[in-house]
Amino acid sequence: MKHYTYLAAMGFTLIGSIWLEVFLKVSVLKRIRRVLLTILPVGIAFVLWDRFAITQGHWRFDNAQVLPLNRIGGLPLEEYLFFIFVPLAAILTIEAVRKVNTHWKVGDER
């Protein structure tokens, strides 16, 4: 079970934010092109930054608590999920706040 620690945390991140799409109807996943154009470039930049920190030896992963798979570019699979799910949660959150406080400006209003 220990191998699932990091994966479980990523599952919780996804579940803890995706309900905003379902129940608050923020319609983020419906705007999938905009989602991908946001997450891909930002995610890639931060993954590169992350890999640099790891190659510098600033921190490392406990092999016993990530999936027993081969590393992809030096990172466990869960780390890539982090750079997809956390940005998605960030987008869902700002859209949820906008939905609840309709008079608060985000900056992309027509």
């Binding site: 092109r33 470039p41 930002v42 600033h58």
Partner: protein, 100 residues
């Protein structure tokens, strides 16, 4: 380059991105801070739980050693920068007409 310096660098780039490069100016908006408070609470919970369980093992000489809820303060700075950059990019694209 210490992890502390690396996170300050990424914070500077994120703020520069938001204020100067794409000028979304989220950092000056209530909508951003209201959302960040929620995200921050979840980061403390989820990342704190992972750090408490030693999923991430830090080189103590690369960090300040200041920890909030088990997490090195550097991770909080990193999280803030990631959230700001992502949301700024999202708003920037929307403003440029990429709405779907």
């Amino acid at each position: 380059m210490s992890y502390t310096f690396m996170t300050l660098l990424v914070l500077a780039v994120a703020i520069l991105w938001d204020l100067v490069i794409v000028r979304t100016r989220l950092i000056g908006r209530r909508v951003f801070w209201a959302g960040y408070v929620i995200i921050f609470a979840f980061q403390l919970l989820i990342n704190g739980w992972l750090t408490c369980n030693n999923v991430f093992l830090y080189d103590e000489s690369a960090i300040l050693g200041v920890r909030v809820f088990y997490e090195p303060v550097e991770d909080l700075v990193f999280g803030f920068s990631l959230v700001l950059t992502v949301q700024s990019m999202w708003v920037f694209l929307g403003r440029r007409g990429i709405r779907n």
